[in-house]
Amino acid sequence: MDAILLQILNGLDKGSAYALIALGLTLIFGTLGVVNFAHGALFMIGAFCSVTLQRILNLSFETVDPTRTDFLGNPAVIKTPYVIDWFGESTGAAIIDWSVPLAILFAIPIMLVIGYVMERGLIKHFYKRPHADQILVTFGLAIVLQEIIKAFYGANPIQTPAPEALSGVVEVLPGILYPAWRVVYFCFSLVVIGAVFAFLQFTTFGMVVRAGMADRETVGLLGIDIDKRFTLMFGIAAGVAGLAGVMYGPINAPNYHMGMDFLVLSFVVVVVGGMGSLPGAVAAGFLLGILESFASMTWVIDLIPGINQIIIYLVAIIILLVRPRGLLGRKGVME
C-alpha cells in the first residue's frame, strides 16, 4: 500500500514537470497555432537561469594561499565569493544556499524577454506558414539555443542544489517519507498552473485570449488587436516553461540537452490531452506521470517486461485510438 502511495506521489511530481511544459506548449498551439519545437529549449534555458545565478553568486575574487598547493604543486589559489565578502559569512552563504528559489525572480524577466524576442523576432513571421515550416524553424532554433548553452556551460550536468532546509525528506503522510524539494516542486506547479488558469479566467485580457483561441477571426473583427495579446501569451508560455526549468534543477542536474529529452514527451502529453486544451494538457501530464511511475514498479515489469520503456507511448496510442482528439481536445484543431 505504501509502495502504491509512493508511486502516486512520484507520479504527481513527475507529472508536474510534464504538465508545466505541456501547458505552455498547448497555449502556444491554441493561441498562435504554432508548433513550437523550441519549447523544450525554453525549459532548458530556465534551468540554466538558476545555474547562471548560482555562478553569479559564486563570483569570487582570488587570493593566493602559499601554505597550500594545487594539483601541479603550485601555490593554491583560494576563491572567496563576493557575496560572502559583502554580506558576511552567514548571510552570504545563505544567499548562495537559496540560489535556486532566488533564481525564480531572476528567471521571470529573462524568460519573458526571451519569449518576447523569440515571438517578435522569429515566430511572428511563421504564423501563416505551414506547420512543416514552423517545425523546421523552431527545431533549428532549438538546436542553436542548446548549442549556445553547451558552448558556455559544457555538456556535463551541473548541480543546482536545493536550499539546505529543503533538501531532506519530509513525512508527507504518516510513515511515508518523500524528498522535500519534490513536494515543493509539486506545490509550485499547482500554484503556477492555478495562476495561469486564473489569469485566463478572471482577467479581461484572459477572456480576450480565450475568445481568440476559440475563434481568432471573429475576435479580430471586433477590432481587438489580438496579435499583441498573443505575443504576451507567448512570453507567458516561455515564462511557465522557464519556471518549470528553474525549479527542476535540484531534482535533476541541468544539462544542455534536457530540453530535447522533454520535448517529445511534452508533445505526447499535449496531444493526449487534446490539442489546444489547457485542462487537457494538465490532466494528461499528471496521468502520464502517474502511469509512468506505476509501470516502473518491479512486479509490473516482471509481469510485462519492458513496459516501463514504452508505457507513455502505449498509453498515448490507446487514448488516441479511443478518443480521436485526445482527452479534452476540441474538433478542428490541428487536424
Binding site: V35, L122, H125, R129, P130, H131, A132, D133, I135, L136, V137, F139, G140, L141, A142, I143, V144, E147, I148, A151, V264, F267, V268, V271, V272, M275, P305, G306, Q309, I310, Y313, L314, A316, I317, L320, L321, P324, R325, G326, M334, E335
Partner: protein
C-alpha cells in the same frame, strides 16, 4: 523517353548524370590542397548521400504528396537494416536476398503501423507514428536484444551459420557483403594530376537503386495515384464526395514510403553490415522530416538535396577541427590567424550542430520552398527556368 514527359526525362537524366559522375563532382579539390577537407567523394559518404536520398524520396511520397507527417519512419529503416543483417547472418552475404527481405519486412511493418495510425489525421497521426517508432526503438534497445543485439547493434560474426555461404573466409575473417561476387567494399582509385577519385562498387549499387527509386517516384508523382494523393492533401471532403476512399490511398502511400525506408535500411546494412537501435529513434525520424522540408517537400528532387545537405554537414563540417582551421589561415599574421580561427571555431568541428541549426532557420526563413526554391531563384537569375523541378508537382506544404 522512359514513358516520361520531356521535363521529367530531363530531370531524370540530370540525376543519372550527377549520381554516376558523383565521384568526380564531389571531389572538386586537389588532394593536397587545404580545401580537400571539403571533398565528399569518398565511398562511405557518397553511399550515405544516395541511401538517405532514397529514404527521403520515399518519405516525400507520403509527406510531400498527402501531407501526412509521419514522425516514425526511422522505424522502417531500422527494421529493414535488422532484416538485412539477419539475412547476412543466416543465409549468405549476397545483398540481393537481404535487400528484398528488408523491403518486404519494412512493407509489412509499415502496413501494420499505417493501418492503425491512419485512423487519425494531422498531429494526432504524427504522434501515433512517433509513439510506435519510439516503442520500437526502446524495445530494440532493451527487451528485444536477442534479436537486435541492443545497444551494440546487430553485427555479423565469425560463427554465423550463413547456410548458402561461408561462416568465415579461409584466412579467418568475416566474409564481405557482395552482389553475386562483386564485393561492396571494392574500390578503384583514379589519379588525375593533383586530383584523385575513388570509385566504389557499393556506391554504384546504391546509386543505381536510387536512380530506380527516383524514377519510380517520378512515375508515382505523375500517375493517377499520385494525383489522388495530392487530392487527399488538398481536400478530403471533396475526395469523399467524389466517390473516392482516401484511406487505402494514404495507406498505400504509407506502405510505399515504408518500403523505400526499408530499402534504404537494407542498403545501409549492405554497405556496412551493422544495424543499431538508434537508427529507429525519433531523432532519426526527425532527420528525414528535416531533410524533406529543407530540400522542398512535395518536389521531386528536393528531398535528395536536403538529405545531401544534412549528411554533408554531419560528415564534413564535424571533422574540421582547430588544427585544420589554423592550416587554412596559416598564411595570415599570427594575430589575424588566431582571430579567424576564433571566429570560425564555434561553427565547425563540434559546433557543426550549431551551423546546421542556423542553416535550417535561414533556409526556412528566406526560401520557403526549401533548397529547390533556392535553385529556381538562381535559375531565374540567369534568365531561364531551372529544369530541376516540375512546378505542377510542387504543392503547398502540409497544413
Amino acid at each position: 523517353m522512359f514513358g516520361l514527359q520531356k521535363k521529367d526525362t530531363n530531370l531524370l537524366l540530370i540525376v543519372i548524370a550527377l549520381t554516376m559522375l558523383a565521384p568526380f563532382i564531389l571531389n572538386p579539390f586537389p588532394t593536397d590542397s587545404g580545401l580537400a577537407q571539403f571533398n565528399a567523394g569518398y565511398p562511405d559518404l557518397m553511399q550515405r548521400f544516395v541511401i538517405f536520398g532514397i529514404f527521403a524520396i520515399g518519405f516525400n511520397i507520403l509527406f510531400g504528396l498527402t501531407g501526412y507527417l509521419s514522425f516514425g519512419h526511422a522505424a522502417f529503416l531500422g527494421v529493414g537494416s535488422y532484416s538485412a543483417v539477419w539475412m547476412f547472418k543466416l543465409l549468405s552475404m549476397n545483398i540481393l536476398p537481404a535487400i528484398i527481405l528488408s523491403v518486404v519486412i519494412a512493407g509489412l511493418f509499415s502496413l501494420l503501423i499505417g493501418w492503425i495510425s491512419l485512423r487519425r489525421t494531422g498531429i494526432y497521426f504524427s504522434i501515433l507514428t512517433l509513439a510506435f517508432a519510439q516503442m520500437s526503438f526502446a524495445l530494440a534497445y532493451s527487451v528485444l536484444t536477442p534479436i537486435t543485439n541492443g545497444e551494440t547493434g546487430l553485427q555479423i560474426t565469425l560463427d554465423d551459420p550463413r547456410i548458402l555461404g561461408i561462416s568465415q573466409t579461409a584466412d579467418g575473417s568475416i566474409p564481405v557483403t557482395n552482389l553475386f561476387g562483386m564485393e561492396m567494399r571494392a574500390t578503384t582509385d583514379l589519379a588525375l594530376g593533383a586530383w584523385s577519385f575513388t570509385f566504389s562498387m557499393g556506391y554504384y549499387v546504391c546509386a543505381v537503386l536510387m536512380i530506380l527509386a527516383f524514377y519510380m517516384s517520378i512515375r508515382i508523382f505523375r500517375s493517377p495515384f499520385g494525383m489522388m494523393l495530392r487530392a487527399i492533401k488538398s481536400n478530403q471532403t471533396r475526395m469523399n464526395y467524389t466517390g473516392l476512399n482516401p484511406k487505402p490511398y494514404t495507406l498505400a502511400a504509407f506502405v510505399i514510403s515504408g518500403m523505400y525506408a526499408g530499402l534504404a535500411g537494407g542498403l545501409m546494412a549492405s554497405m556496412d553490415p551493422l544495424a543499431g537501435a538508434e537508427r529507429m529513434q525519433w531523432t532519426a525520424s526527425g532527420e528525414v522530416v528535416l531533410m524533406t522540408i529543407l530540400g522542398g517537400a512535395g518536389t521531386l528532387i528536393g528531398p535528395v538535396l536536403g538529405a545531401g545537405m544534412i549528411k554533408y554537414f554531419e560528415n564534413i563540417f564535424s571533422k574540421i577541427n582547430d588544427n585544420v582551421l589554423h592550416t587554412w589561415f596559416s598564411f595570415m599574421p599570427d594575430g589575424l590567424e588566431n582571430l579567424m580561427v576564433g571566429i570560425l571555431h564555434p561553427f565547425v568541428g563540434k559546433g557543426w550542430h550549431l551551423t546546421l541549426g542556423i542553416i535550417f532557420m535561414l533556409v526556412v526563413a528566406f526560401l520557403p520552398g526549401g533548397l529547390v526554391e533556392g535553385g529556381q531563384r538562381i535559375g531565374r537569375m540567369f534568365g531561364r527556368k531551372k529544369p530541376t523541378d516540375d512546378t505542377s508537382a510542387k504543392t503547398e506544404p502540409a497544413e
